[in-house]
């Protein structure tokens, strides 16, 4: 019996919200980034699921581009973290509060 589509979607939602919880609770900037990657992957899963069940390759093309963007974003983000670390010597997000009132 083929896997019902809802299972994939629930799994994807679960992964997404796990990533959200990670973004909101962790203090280390790198771990927050990794949680963001997790969220992106869950979106990829949803896209591929629908692409497969509909037989339309457009979903997978979109995933291709999401991966590209995620890679670029990871590179730049990590570069920013390195620059930030050099200035403040901390990777805890809640100590980077220059935008404070």
């Amino acid at each position: 019996m083929p896997v019902p589509i809802e299972y994939y979607l629930i799994l994807s939602a679960f992964m997404f919200l796990t990533g959200v919880a990670g973004v909101l609770t962790r203090r280390n900037a790198i771990v927050v980034f990794m949680s963001i990657e997790l969220m992106l992957n869950s979106a990829n899963l949803t896209l591929v699921t629908f692409s497969s069940y509909l037989g339309n390759p457009a979903g997978q093309i979109f995933v291709f581009f999401v991966m590209t963007v995620a890679a670029a974003e990871a590179a730049v983000g990590l570069a920013i973290i390195i620059a930030l670390f050099r200035n403040k010597l901390t990777m805890n997000i809640d100590e980077i509060n220059i935008l404070k009132w």
């Binding site: 959200v20 973004v23 909101l24 609770t25 927050v32 997000i93 809640d94 980077i96 509060n97 220059i98 935008l99 404070k100 009132w101």
Partner: protein, 645 residues
């Protein structure tokens, strides 16, 4: 000329503007004086022209309304700037512009050398402007405009010498007192106006009076309207209980006292009651009240005037007393008699004040009559005219005062009651007495002034007006010879004004006819009494001066009360003024203004400050907090979606 009646209003206003704006630059007093007096003189000519023209019209057509433009048109309220030329307004216009012109000319001489000469004349012209609006307006709003305007000019002119001391305060205090007491009366007047509008739906004289006769309005409404209007009149015309400002108004220059507080402004109340005669006639209870108040005021003020020592104060109380006579006349339904007395009183009271001004001027601002005496030989013309005026006011025939006062007393007896006549008659005796006390102490007898005073006759600019007024005071009464003496024509003055009061006279209760025997005998009684009073005054103050001093010592209590004006001012001060001031200071200022109102304003500001102080803590600068808030938003959005699925 009737069509140009608005010129009588416009010309003084122009005079006010010209003298007010350019006056300080015109260094020549004569030009300012000419401008100031010339406008009033021209107004007088216009009024005379309108009078002659109206004389030529048949009796029913004697009322003309000259509309300039529509002023207010809101809802049911339709008010025009329109002037009404009828018998009553013509009489008043002639008095105001005529006597006003004479006083303007006098002021050129009196105010000579004053540093604000131009300001005086501009204020005087403004006053005439307001007064003309008052008496010529054809609706209550224009009348009220003039009413307030004369009150304002009274304030400006009483406090004209603003840097001078006056009794226990400054002239400014006297001016303020006049204005504020007037205001209390004006409040009553306004209430009356509101009631009139509510009841009759209009403020136009023609419409209101027509409806007053035809509408079916309960007497209580008329009573209230009349009462409120009368309260306004007590303020403006210095009756009990709002007369207290008039003696203090003597702080102003003497021409001001002559013009405003003798001849014109104080008669505004009388004019108003006469104009609204139909309303008052429909409220018999208030008419009785008016008569009683008038009579009481007359005798009350006369009694105070008996013992005063300031020449202007005596004349001020005399004015209050004579105004009481006018209201007595109005109260018993003798509207024409009241207006007749307005006219004669304007003549002799203005003359008295101007004469007093002449004396004060030559005695270098000394006003205490105890320091006068024997001035007749230095100022013969002033003394002569003053004597004429004193005789007139005492009601000695055939001077004008005799006819008008006698008219009033007769109607007080015939339409009112014996008691009213008696009070009026006693007041007449008192009037004669204090007037001649004043005359004898000032112009005759021993000289009681120091050697630093050099009395001299005043210049022609001042004495010629005195003589003109003396002639008017002497012969002005013949126009109102009672029917008794004048034969088939009847009382000419009364006939002239009769149509104005026609509808009112229907409603006035009169107590039946009396024979001419009674009329003549009453006349004789009062004349004899006045003559006796004059003789008595002569005895006391010329032959036997010690009598006055010992009498004042023997009746010290009464003397004190009279000298201190029955302590009315002190009573008002303690009962009304001080509590208001104190409550205003302690409660209204300290608590209400500072705590509540300021507290509200400042409190709102500090409330916002507090709230924003709490709200700004959301911006922590930590990105994750922002992310949490975003997720919160997503939660809410999803709930919305779920609920709408």
């Amino acid at each position: 000329m009737t069509q140009y009646i608005y010129l009588t209003v416009l010309l003084p206003f122009l005079g006010f503007l010209v003298n007010g704006i350019f006056g300080s630059r015109i260094k020549n007093e004569k030009i300012i004086g000419i401008i100031g007096s010339g406008t009033i003189g021209l107004s007088f000519l216009v009024a005379v022209g309108a009078f002659i023209q109206t004389l030529g019209l048949p009796v029913e057509e004697r009322k003309t309304i000259v509309t300039l433009f529509n002023w207010i048109k809101v809802g049911g309220l339709n008010v025009n700037i329109a002037y009404q030329v009828d018998q009553l307004s013509l009489v008043m216009a002639l008095i105001v512009t005529g006597v006003g012109f004479i006083i303007h000319v006098y002021s050129i001489g009196y105010m000579h050398g004053d540093k604000s000469f131009w300001r005086f004349f501009s204020y005087l012209n403004l006053f005439i402007f307001a007064m003309m609006n008052l008496i010529l307006g054809d609706n209550f709003v224009l009348l009220f405009l003039g009413w307030e305007g004369v009150g304002l000019c009274s304030y400006l002119l009483i406090g004209f010498w603003y840097d001078r001391k006056f009794e226990k305060g400054t002239t400014g205090d006297a001016a303020k007192k006049a204005f504020i007491v007037n205001r209390i009366g004006d409040f009553g007047f306004l209430l009356g106006m509101f009631l009139i509008f509510m009841t009759f739906g209009s403020l136009n004289f023609g419409e209101v009076f027509a409806r007053a006769s035809s509408f079916n309005v309960p007497v209580s409404i008329f009573n209230f309207i009349a009462l409120f209007l009368f309260i306004g009149a007590t303020g403006k015309s210095a009756q009990i209980p709002l007369y207290i400002w008039l003696p203090d108004a003597m702080a102003g220059p003497t021409p001001v006292s002559a013009l405003i507080h003798a001849a014109t402004m104080v008669t505004a109340g009388v004019y108003m009651v006469a104009r609204c005669s139909i309303i008052f006639a429909s409220a018999p209870a208030i008419m009785i009240l008016i008569a009683i108040v008038g009579a009481l005021t007359a005798i009350f003020a006369a009694s105070i005037g008996l013992v005063q020592n300031d020449i202007k104060k005596i004349l001020a109380y005399s004015t209050v007393s004579q105004l009481g006579y006018m209201f007595l006349a109005l109260g018993v339904g003798a509207f024409t008699a009241g207006i007749f007395h307005v006219m004669t009183h304007a003549f002799f009271k203005a003359l008295l004040f101007l004469g007093a001004g002449s004396v004060i001027h030559s005695m270098h601002d000394e006003q205490d009559i105890q320091h006068y005496g024997g001035l007749k030989k230095y100022m013969p013309r002033t003394a002569m005219t003053f004597l004429v005026a004193a005789l007139a006011i005492s009601g000695i025939p055939p001077l004008s005062g005799f006819f008008s006062k006698d008219d009033i007393l007769w109607y007080a007896f015939a339409n009112g009651s014996f008691l009213l006549w008696l009070i009026g008659a006693v007041t007449a005796l008192l009037t004669a007495f204090y007037m001649f006390r004043l005359y004898f102490l000032t112009f005759e007898g021993k000289e009681r002034f120091g050697h630093d005073k050099h009395p001299h006759e005043s210049p022609g600019l001042m004495t010629i007006p005195l003589m003109v007024l003396a002639v008017l005071s002497a012969i002005g009464g013949f126009i109102g010879i009672p029917a008794l003496f004048s034969g088939e024509g009847g009382n000419r003055f009364e006939n002239w004004l009769e149509p104005v009061f026609k509808s009112a006279n229907f409603k006035v209760i009169s107590y039946g006819t009396y024979s001419s025997f009674e009329e003549i005998s009453l006349m004789l009684i009062t004349v004899a009494g006045a003559a006796l009073a004059i003789y008595f005054a002569r005895y006391i103050y010329i032959k036997n001066p010690h009598f006055a001093v010992s009498a004042s010592r023997k009746f010290k209590g009464i003397y004190n009360i009279l000298l201190n004006k029955y302590f009315v001012d002190e009573f008002y001060d303690a009962a009304i003024v001080t509590p208001i001031l104190r409550s205003s200071d302690n409660f209204l200022w300290r608590i209400f203004d500072i705590r509540i109102i300021d507290g509200l304003v400042n409190g709102t500001a500090s409330l916002i400050e507090t709230i924003s102080g709490k709200i700004r803590k959301i911006q922590t600068g930590v990105t994750q907090i922002y992310a949490v808030v975003m997720m919160l938003g997503i939660v809410i959005a999803f709930f919305w979606i779920i609920l709408s699925l």
